[in-house]
């Protein structure tokens, strides 16, 4: 190798490195600005997780999940394993869920607590969509509920809100979504399945339903929503109980 070509190689290498570093820094700033960085972006799998989330936000921020005809409904609906129900749940179940409450707090103008009948009094929507589990199975069902965006309008969220954190009655089971999913017209607080009340096995009396993410983001037995601009305050700061258990926060794939 001649001196000239060696110098050329070094100069080209340095220029490429500088361009790469600058490009990464700019990309990172833009990504933060547009909400393309998931809470669990650190660690060895942060690259893949961030690319999944960012690319799907760019491609599919407003797209609608597929809806199916009645004939495609999978009967009977499949109810997978649920963790043992705690005493608090059993007490409410014994009372026919009359005392079930959904409390909403955090960055909202009017913190509130809703009963199931209050939730049912809001405009009801239904969708025939697919629930797909990360394990591989899936079923199509008709889900009825109130769009999450409607509840967020009722309580009045602050403009700086970035995430909706949702909690199951099971204290170890909580998750969060960004505002794109929270305001999405197919994101429901579901209370009905195939024309009936939502069975306990499928997450009744109240389940988060977001058909553009896999089953495990559709947390069952919802009792509490918190609106926040920072996921660091929750658990280990990774966005949900899932990354703490080894699963990705974003489950659009």
């Amino acid at each position: 190798m001649t001196d000239l070509s060696r110098r050329k190689l070094i100069v080209t290498g340095l220029a490429a490195t500088a361009a790469g570093v600058t490009g990464l820094a700019v990309t990172s700033r833009i990504a933060q600005e547009y909400g393309l960085v998931p809470p669990d972006h650190g660690g060895i799998y942060g690259l893949g997780e961030t690319l999944n989330y960012a690319s799907q936000r760019l491609l599919a921020r407003h797209s609608l999940a597929r809806e199916f005809p009645q004939s495609q409904i999978s009967r009977p609906p499949f109810a997978n394993e649920i963790p043992p129900l705690n005493d608090a749940f059993k007490r409410l179940q014994a009372g026919g869920f009359a005392d079930w409450r959904l409390t909403v707090d955090g960055m909202v103008d009017r913190p509130a607590s809703f009963s199931l009948s209050q939730l049912r009094s809001y405009p009801s929507r239904s969708q025939i969509t697919q629930l797909a589990c990360e394990e591989g199975w899936s079923y199509v069902a008709e889900w009825a509920g109130v769009p999450l965006s409607h509840i967020l309008d009722v309580v009045g969220i602050h403009p700086q809100a970035r995430y909706i954190v949702y909690f199951s009655i099971d204290p170890d089971w909580w998750d969060s979504i960004d505002m794109a999913d929270a305001m999405h017209p197919q994101t429901f607080l579901a209370y009905g399945l195939n024309g009936n009340e939502l069975p306990v096995g499928n997450g009744g009396p109240l389940r988060m339903r977001l058909p553009r993410q896999l089953g495990y983001k559709n947390v069952k037995f919802i009792t509490h929503l918190t609106v926040t601009d920072n996921m660091k305050e929750f658990g280990s700061g990774l966005g949900s109980a899932s990354p703490e258990g080894g699963y990705a926060w974003y489950a659009g794939i």
């Binding site: 997780e49 999944n52 799907q56 394993e81 199975w137 659009g252």
Partner: protein, 261 residues
Amino acid sequence: MARLGSVEAPLGAGVPSSVPAIPATTATSRHSALVRITHWITTLCFLALLVSGAEIVISHPRFYWGENGNDLTPTLFKLPIPSSRALVPTGYGYVLPDQNGWSRYLHFQAAWIAVLTGLLYMVFGFLTGHFRKDLIPAKADLSWRGLFAAIATHLRFERPDQSGAESYNVLQRSTYLLVIFVLFPLVIWTGLAMSPAFVSAVPASVTLLGGRQSARTLHFFVSLALLLFLIVHVVMVGLAGFKSRTRAMITGRTGAQLERT
């Protein structure tokens, strides 16, 4: 060096003395640097995808066709293996540990690196004429006679002559083209067709395949085809001379070139 097959030969004997000497001006590598780098990155990614994919399959070793598929619906076929989920009716009395968390993280990370590497390789392949020069079979080789001759050579497990170290034969070329332009695109497509967010933006990606469960079943079979390719590829490399072929894919130099230096 131990060789596969019945031929026990010392290192270097793979180059028959009758092979005409290659002009010393042939200073170019057997494989260009970009081919070598993308080959090994793809190898690592494919192994990661294979292991993590197998772990994910274990959590539900049942396959279906159409949109719906779960424990309550009839299967297309089941794998006779235990599962990492208690609810799956496998017939086994025990449940394997759940490995899906890191498997899913690793699967997508490896997929991204493989796809980006593949794009780089594609751009390079078209710009430099790599596909045209190294992979598209010559017209003469594509005759039935040429094809049968190549197949017969393979069926006799004949060791390739020196031309095999310098270029690909017609079966290799066809197989590599099939892997690069059919199997890899198919495995990416069927994988994306299982992403609920991706299919919300591109619904045809899953409806064309017949539904989510069809996409999953096809993803499994295309992966099996790629695994079959990997096994045959490694066996053929072994038959042709594992050390020299692997060295050529790492350093770019064939045995013949090494001897001359």
